[in-house]
Subunit: 182 residues, 2 copies
Amino acid sequence: MTSTTPEKPTPSRGRSDAGAYAESILRSLRRIIRAIDQHSRHLSREFNLTVPQLVCLRQLILSGPSTPGNLASKVYLSQATVTGILDRLEARNLIKRERSSPDRRRVTVSLTDSGQRLTEEMPWPLQERFATRLAAMPMEGRQVIDQVLKQIVDMMEVRELDAWPIVGSGIWNDEAEQVGSG
Amino acid sequence: MTSTTPEKPTPSRGRSDAGAYAESILRSLRRIIRAIDQHSRHLSREFNLTVPQLVCLRQLILSGPSTPGNLASKVYLSQATVTGILDRLEARNLIKRERSSPDRRRVTVSLTDSGQRLTEEMPWPLQERFATRLAAMPMEGRQVIDQVLKQIVDMMEVRELDAWPIVGSGIWNDEAEQVGSG
DNA sequence: TATGAATGTTTTGATTTCTAAGGACCTCAT
DNA sequence: ATGAGGTCCTTAGAAATCAAAACATTCATA
């Protein structure tokens, strides 16, 4: 309780024209989340690994042994969630956990041989069809998808300092700040 | 730090240039899902309603009394998921369930008065900040976001119905999914 | 040395989410 | 009418997901 006392439900009305898009965006997001989940279950049936599990394993290959907390931040999951995922992977002997000697609070997570092998022969974590279609698009299109998603992340994620001008956030007005890369 | 992931296109094995975008897209999607989930928990703490619950309630206002299955398809959730959500809403007396008289398999779900009232004073299911920023964008920007998300949905969703031009040409058949004759 | 703040992980408790299986009910041939 | 096969909903079982609480450990400092 406390923190921000509910200073009365926000107006909630007043979505004049933005409203239509907002509804549609919400619907699309829901469908995307669902499609990802369904694909995850498909992978699980087929290869006995879910998408989050696969993502964690891949990250371990990419960055080498790591701690749960570190891994969590790399894959954008909470520490608690990663603990659960690691439990299941450990039970199947795909990763191992060891308490570090220097700082015994830390746990070092690393791939076992069979974990390494399995991960390497697993397919890409998102839909094969999606990847295929993405690859079939003109580069420009892929770039727009990438940019738009980053923009959504930017509009959605809560971050500490949050008082910047809303005016030109986007690839439409001008090149905008970061995001560029290339 | 904001959203600016230091995205140099990753040198993922194989994937050439589509790979870089694919990695980045996967990351962004994960972050979006997380942001939505976190907002849902925030709403839950603040108003005691999660996003899926709110979405179901809003849909009931929008379309009037409905059956669980119907509701599920409107909000893009499985029937089982909606059953669970309705259980919690019913326990709080925000909706009620009645078996239909003509066809007793069906259940009619409708809002109670307090459900109606509560739903109407709840805020928009997605981040206030997101909605605000969306509204602050030029119309074309919103439109592009909407279009891109729809495109992603289209690339991701598995729709097995809709006559695929499969016309058995042999080579494809053994791989072909369970299209048809289920 | 003791003690409290900080850090890192796991546990707890709740919800969401799905598929698959179970139960109730309807329809339509036979 | 009667049973087979659908349709609709709920239950079962499992994973993911988070915040918050509980543990374990380190570190600074009185």
